[in-house]
Amino acid sequence: MQKFECGMCEYTYDPAKGDPARGIPPGTSFESLPDSWKCPKCGAGKNMFVEA
């Protein structure tokens, strides 16, 4: 699955890892993250992410 990178900081969302600290299990694609999900590092919204 495609990784996505935060356009504002260096965080990369890796679907294989998910974001367990925020209740996102491994295997969750970027597209299926809830709209309320935010960059864990800087708080930028989903729309600020680009394909890594």
Binding site: G7, M8, C9, C42, A44, V50
Partner: protein, 393 residues
């Protein structure tokens, strides 16, 4: 105001905003401010470092022209894209057809959102250089001081640091240089507190990056240019951005508002419980102290316990001032709790913990709420609540 020559080939071409009293809605600016831009002219190329606010575009271009014909500008460096320095970008680019916008990687997204068109900017990374001919611009990535795209531009030959908002102040004085004006430490400190304080960790990283650079002049985008006692200003940043001291004893800070003394009695009972459990529990009435003056105490405490009665289904105004002022400090994972007496509905404490969760406090328990006058048993419950909070630290 006319352009000011800083060194051969380097001009200040900013705008003085003497009338400004409130900046960005959130900030007092009793001394006005300046929007500083700089022209750097090499033997081959000309760079403009940062632009201005949209409403000053015309004034800015008037000041710029005697220092550089806009058509001569090869590079328009945006150290960060906040609109007070990028708002005039469109107007500048309209008369500077040869200028390539230079931004950091996050800046690319922001410049697109400012101009709503693709200007194909040049993306520079940390330590990249642009040669102007006898003058070399080196870019230093300094994210989140205070925008994500922030970078500094260092002019190697002249040892000038164009530092963006970093080491700036809202302070307007046409004499421009820090050694020509009276002491403005208070404005310098206030600017740090409001703009840089939320990003202390990044401030420390940025300071570390410039520590070994020889710097003769610091040119920020707001307020005086620093050319005397530069280290004094850097030291102030170092002191203010240091990690808050960790106390050996656990400490929970109690802040409350109370209409009839019932919430107040609950607060003191919770404090007793906290102290019995061996922790400190300073208690403050928010009608007697200013919420913003409590930020240092909050930052050094292990947690915050906020009490409010409920009036018209809401917590009181002082509470909201407190909760909104905490955005400038790091409260992540501090313990949060709430309490309050109420007449018949009691939403106040519930709203407080919801906001605390939004601020990333760790809220281990539901608030303690009491209908009107607390009984002895209620006060015992408050004490027990205080003890449990200490256990949860």
């Amino acid at each position: 105001m006319r352009q000011v020559r800083i060194l051969p080939g380097i001009h200040w071409v900013g705008v003085l905003d003497t009338q400004l009293r409130v900046f960005d809605v959130i900030m007092q600016a009793q001394h006005g401010t300046t929007y500083n831009s700089y022209v750097v002219r090499g033997t081959d190329k000309v760079a403009l470092i940062d632009a201005s606010k949209e409403k000053f575009a015309e004034t800015f271009l008037r000041t710029l022209r005697p220092a550089a014909d806009p058509r001569e500008i090869d590079y328009l460096v945006c150290n960060h894209l906040e609109p007070d320095h990028s708002g005039a970008l469109d107007d500048v680019l309209a008369v500077a057809p040869n200028a390539q916008v230079v931004v950091s990687k996050p800046g690319r997204m922001l410049v697109q959102a400012i101009l709503n068109r693709d200007v194909k900017p040049r993306i520079v990374k940390d330590d990249d250089r642009i040669e102007l001919g006898g003058k070399t611009l080196r870019f230093i990535s300094a994210p989140f001081v205070h925008w994500p795209d922030t970078m500094f531009t260092y002019l190697e030959e002249d040892q000038i640091l164009f530092s963006g908002d970093f080491l700036g102040a809202h302070y307007c004085d046409a004499r421009l240089y820090n050694d020509l004006i009276e002491n403005y430490d208070e404005a310098f400190r206030y600017y740090f507190q409001v703009i840089m304080r939320p990003f202390k960790e990044y401030v420390r990283q940025a300071l570390a990056k410039i520590e070994t650079l020889p710097i003769k002049i610091i040119c920020p985008v707001h307020g005086p240019i620093l050319r005397a006692d530069i280290n004094r200003y850097i030291d102030m940043y170092r002191e203010w951005s240091a990690e808050p001291p960790k106390t050996a004893t656990k400490r929970l800070l109690i802040l409350y508002v109370s209409s009839y003394g019932n919430t107040e009695r609950m607060g003191h009972a919770i404090a007793r419980g906290i102290r019995e459990a061996g922790a400190e529990a300073p208690v403050y009435d928010l009608t007697q102290v200013n919420a913003r003056d409590m930020l240092d105490e909050i930052e050094t405490a292990d947690g915050l316990v906020v009490g409010s009665c409920t009036i018209n289904g809401d917590a009181l105004e002082q509470i909201w001032v407190l909760l909104s002022s905490m955005a400038t400090i790091n409260v992540k994972d501090k313990l949060g709790a709430s309490f309050g007496s109420f007449g018949w509905s009691g939403e106040g404490p519930l709203m407080i913990v919801e906001r605390m969760k939004g601020l990333k406090f760790r809220v281990p328990e539901e608030p303690v709420r009491v209908n009107l006058v607390p009984t002895d048993a209620d006060l015992k419950s408050c004490e027990a609540y205080g003890k449990r909070l200490v256990d949860a630290i």
